[in-house]
Subunit: 452 residues, 2 copies
């Protein structure tokens, strides 16, 4: 392209024909190379030099085994689903896909709620969508806090203008109904926030009794199912959960980017009774539903290719069967826990029935450098696990076994790699015993399919 | 999996071993088939029947040519980038990719702003992020409204508690600096909202003079560049734009799902001077930047595979060169406009210098059924174009030529298909003339690469 040609046809368009800003911060930071590159590219606006390959390499992310707190690995079929050219967000072919996705999500949440769809954001957007739609300034909000994500709910509720009451108890424990009953009577909230599967602690919170108490007090229950949905039973209708949200990158087996939510009729009554509109236009459930529901009214452009991915993930879940999928997650989790204990490690969650099979937390043994162990797993085995958050930082390891990552081969590799590294770091542990303990679990449940 | 096995190992876990809800709304709606299917699957919770293939088909979206208002088509290289397994959002390999993305976005926005990153949502999330971060209750907000997306900004600003002043003018025209000067003096806003490329009208708004006026009045300018970024010049630093947001699915050439934003130093001062925190935790620019910036602190899980896609799209933009890319969009747009006019159609935007080359609007001729023409283009040619919005509903066609969709072959196909259909629908038009007019533009700018 010549300067003459440009000046002819761009004559009246603002900003064209001027020297454009060639930003090369990376190169500038690197000193001499930066100067060279700047000189080579010049500032004459022609960009005639083939400068690109100085910086951009082919995308080649390392092939990690994702056994941290999420994202988890993704079935290749889900990744392939994303490679279709996008289609229009109002195309009838896309509308049909939206219907399939809504139906798949209803099955997954075990609900008949019509207002069930994916929010166009990650799990935290799902959390914010649920809270922003239900909280008006000065609404009383009770947050049951026993981990990092309860704290996040409290922060969001506070920003949204809610009058927030927090009942906190030890991280690593679950709430019992009595505690909740007392808090309900004392604070008389409109909304109660509870985390089903606390990703920061590995606690699986029993829900049914608490949901009944919340309903008896005429409050609404918002349940965080980010780490549970698709991995352990989430029975929205049976338990009487009013609102729930999740995320695609944990037990659903898709990449991060969408946040399934569901609102029941009691929640919809509350949405419709608001004094003023939801402060967030983007997350307004009734507006978004005018698109995802039967109106098909344009609201925002859905993340088309992520919806393709979610559809394939839901299809895979249906093919596996929900109960078979829960069983796979349960058995792999039990094998991992048995192996970790046989290595001489202590699980953070003391009560066995509250141990989440999809996110397992163990205390870091005395004298072991927690960060070094994680770094060695990552660099020597491409195996990602997670560190502790908040007060548990440096004190625990977190092992995720979610979605496509929940497979026997990963359990055995993780136990082997961890045991080997711990031995080398000076912690005496018995690898044979760990593998034998895991294998005993698998033998006991030989009827469960533990590989995908 | 047998019931016995299940009852053993699930003994203490809530919700397992109970009959699960088998939701088949589609089948239920279809009457007899639904009853059969229900009976076939039963409600014993075993899910032993291979029921899935009754419903799920292989994902096979139609191969559309996307010449509507977005999403646009995506380079196959970008689609392939998404097929990598995700990696952790705190993985050093991902952090390196984040740095490349930030740098690519700074080049694209033509800015040195450090606070430049993609919001984890679609374009409307970008809009909401910019407004929610800058508006506190009772802040005075001036919205320059000449189309659908200005109206959306006004709605969002109102929900966020801003005192909103709207200056509206005819859809299809651009604002002139005098109008803005008067509005600034009258309303003395903290924030001014302007749309650079109005997707609903096809107007390209000159920015530089208005940005100077806004700055002189010590207000902040928020610029919507959803449809302009990557297709026509967006010179954030040179024009003095304080905040801008965009989306990935228009001229950037990636699927929808991310919203690039940039905040300059004046905007950051405003962020830091807030009396109370941003009402949205998810979109809080300073919090999100604690992750995208040098702190690398966990905020939320980024949509990893969408970031892979954006990186590849930015790499492609760098390879093409910004000016060459602008020229491609400009020439294809000019050829399309010339062809449409030669067909005897009237462009909505009367002022030639305000015609957006990437989104072209023409009036629907009298007697032509607008919806039928669009349906025929879609079903006979897999060619998607868009209808008018708001007051322009039914009155205009909208042709997008954005990103990978902006190619000579699409221009010639669209003119041919449209001309043929219009003729068959009873509108006398000269196809030869249309093709000749488009070809004349291409010949005049033979030095510009108009195919990807």
């Amino acid at each position: 392209m010549t300067v003459v040609g440009r000046s002819v046809f761009y004559g009246r368009q603002e900003g064209v024909g001027r020297a454009i800003l060639l930003l090369t911060p990376n190169l500038q930071r690197s000193g001499k190379d930066g100067d060279d590159a700047d000189a080579q590219r010049g500032h004459d606006g022609t960009m005639s030099e083939p400068t690109v390959l100085e910086r951009w390499q082919d995308l080649a992310p390392p092939a990690r085994i994702l056994m941290g707190a999420g994202p988890s690995n993704v079935d290749p079929r889900v990744l392939r689903a994303m490679t279709h050219q996008p289609i229009g967000h109002l195309d009838s072919a896309f509308v049909a896909i939206m219907d399939e996705v809504k139906e798949g999500l209803r099955r997954l949440f075990q609900t008949r709620n019509g207002l069930t769809f994916p929010i166009s954001g990650t799990g935290s957007a799902g959390m914010e969508a649920c809270l922003a739609n239900l909280i008006e300034p000065s609404d009383r909000v009770l947050v049951l806090l026993n981990g990092f994500f309860g704290d996040r709910m409290a922060q969001m509720a506070h920003r949204l203008g809610g009058e927030v009451f927090v009942v906190e108890q030890e991280w690593g424990t679950a709430f019992d109904p009595d505690t909740v009953r007392k808090a309900l009577l004392r604070h008389r909230p409109k909304l109660v926030c509870l985390v089903h599967a606390e990703t920061s602690t590995g606690v699986l919170q029993p829900v049914a009794d608490i949901a009944r108490l919340v309903r008896e007090q005429d409050a609404l229950l918002v349940l965080d199912t980010v780490t549970s949905l698709g991995g352990v039973p989430v029975l929205v209708d049976e338990w009487g959960v009013d609102v729930a949200y999740s995320a695609t990158q944990k037990c659903l087996g898709a990449p991060p980017g969408l946040a399934p939510v569901t609102f029941n009729e009691r929640a919809i009554v509350a949405l419709k009774a608001r004094q003023r509109p939801c402060v967030s236009w983007y997350l307004d459930a009734l507006l978004v539903h005018s698109y995802w529901g039967d109106d098909r009214a344009y609201h925002h452009t859905a993340p088309i290719n992520m919806v393709f991915a979610l559809r394939e993930a839901l299809r895979l879940i249906d093919e596996e069967g929900l109960e078979a999928r829960w069983a796979r997650h349960q058995v792999n989790g039990m094998a991992m826990m048995a192996g970790l204990q046989a290595l001489g490690l202590t699980l953070l969650v003391r009560e066995p029935s509250h141990r989440l099979p999809v996110l397992i937390t163990v205390l870091v043994p005395d004298g072991i450098d927690e960060a070094k162990v994680r770094a060695r797993l990552l660099h020597e085995f491409h195996l990602e696990i997670s560190a502790g958050l908040g007060p548990l930082k440096g004190r625990i390891f977190r092992f995720g076994l979610m979605g496509y990552s929940s497979q026997k081969r990963h359990v055995l590799l993780a136990l082997t790699a961890l045991g080997m590294i711990l031995q080398e770091e000076g912690f005496a542990c018995d690898l044979d015993a760990a593998i034998a303990a895991a294998q005993a679990v698998y033998r006991q449940h030989a009827d469960v399919k533990v590989e995908v």
